[in-house]
Symmetry: C2
Subunit: 287 residues, 2 copies
């Protein structure tokens, strides 16, 4: 397994790939879990070369405390990637990705930035759009793999690739969950034991919304209330938002229709978690 830190080396390596086989890229912020590994397996199955990225993107955190708290363990990550049989790991340094005179941002505008609820959605969206544009230029993959768990990121990257005509195929894979329904996330490791028990409240709230939709309810306000009421039953949880919205534009919907995103953001103690289900219509769900 080859490890690349230097941007010029990454650019040179990607240039060498252009004439060769297909390249599958899994960008991550490290502290890998089974969700990431499912993306890597998909990249390995579909592409001749697999490359994982590890970069905790400072631009998508508004609060420096959140950035400082983000878990990291590069040695463990490299061990997992090596065991998985990844070909290349790209671990750029923040000061190379954002040198002191860095000043060009990729900025999604309305509807993506107009409607979505969620902590620091504007900062997050600009940060994701900018770093993904850069990583795509550096790695030049044929396919890039993302988890459905980060629904905002998925919407931003889909829009970005289309709007900027980036010639990359996207693969969005299902959220991987713990046995109690909690979506796998690097942030789960920040939870204290009691918080960990409480954390599946996001899943339970989404299930409450799902039950209503499966029962025929279509009014977003009723569904959001049910999710909110469920979160209120958990003392350690503090709701940030629930939304019933379009998965591509993140615009809120008055009524549920086929392809609707139920999304939720909750603070459990000091740890911010998100989760979502997508209703595809007719009792079909991506969850």
């Amino acid at each position: 397994m080859r490890i690349i830190h230097n941007l010029d080396e990454m650019t040179e390596t990607a240039r060498g790939w252009l004439a060769g086989g297909s390249v599958g890229f899994v960008p991550t912020m490290g502290y890998l879990h089974e969700g990431h590994l499912s993306l890597i397996r998909a990249a390995q199955q579909e592409c001749e070369i697999s490359i994982a990225g590890i970069f905790v993107n400072p631009l998508q955190f508004e609060r420096s405390e959140d950035l400082a708290r983000y878990p990291h363990d590069p040695e463990r990550d490299l061990q997992l990637l090596s065991t998985a049989g990844v070909d290349v790991v790209f671990i750029p340094r923040a000061e190379d990705i954002y040198p002191s005179d860095f000043s060009t941002f990729v900025v999604p505008s309305a509807p993506l930035t107009g409607r979505p609820k969620g902590v620091n959605a504007q900062v997050y969206i600009r940060g994701v759009a900018t770093v993904m544009t850069k990583l795509f230029q550096l790695v030049r993959p044929d396919l890039a793999y993302f988890g459905q768990k980060d629904a905002h990121q998925v919407a931003v990257v889909r829009r970005l690739v289309r709007d900027l005509n980036i010639d990359i195929g996207l693969r969005i894979l299902p959220t991987v969950r713990e046995s109690d329904g909690l979506a796998m996330s690097s942030r789960n490791h920040l939870l204290l034991p009691a918080e960990r028990q409480a954390a599946n409240i996001l899943y339970r709230a989404l299930m409450a919304g799902k039950a209503l939709i499966d029962g025929g309810e279509r009014r977003s306000s009723v569904i959001e209330n049910a999710m909110r009421d469920m979160v209120a039953t958990e003392l350690l949880a503090s709701l940030d938002y629930t939304a019933v919205c379009h998965p591509d534009t993140l615009s809120e919907l008055q009524e549920v229709m086929p392809r609707t995103l139920l999304t939720i953001g909750v603070r459990i103690g000091a740890t911010y978690l998100v989760d979502n289900f997508v209703w595809l219509g007719d009792r079909h769900w991506q969850m």
Copy 2:
């Protein structure tokens, strides 16, 4: 000579080039003149495949009158390009480059947007950055060619390619001038005969600044005043700005130092013209 209008066809074609020879790209807004042709000859000399782009980018015009007035004559352009022996011409449609739900912009920030003078500099800079990012993704050239005449564009593209890690080499070629010093520009064809005579006032003003610098003057204010005074001698000219600035950041300089951009924007009747010289130090000029 192959003509491509369709974006998917361009993407497919560019993908085919990746394994092959080097690609030189000359993006233009059409209504070609000798300045453009000098870029095309350079691309042909340096690269195995030459491609010219023709796209009048609505995003970089703030005023729809200016966009509507921009000269165009696609048949003449294609004739010139065919005679020049260009391999491919890419002429996308505006509604394909900016579909109705287009919403991701590439936005340079300070210093590029903080300081530069010039009509609608903010709109222009965002428009250039966004369209060039898109064209670079669609065409995927090894080298891209620009004229020094559009100094703002050059600064934006240089910054953009570096900040977004786009693996493209830039070639900036000298401004091509008419015999009276007027910089070649598609907009020159909009000038009435008397205006055409007056239009070399930009060149004369830059020469006045140059004479001072060659004589040892270093104070930007003195140099700008001399340029302004020269423009005031021409009745048909209305000064928009003069600036003494850094060619990369466009930040204004109090004192001239090696690598300083003298730039000027003037309205001659209804037509807006720009021009610039770069002082490289020690009586060396790019003009």
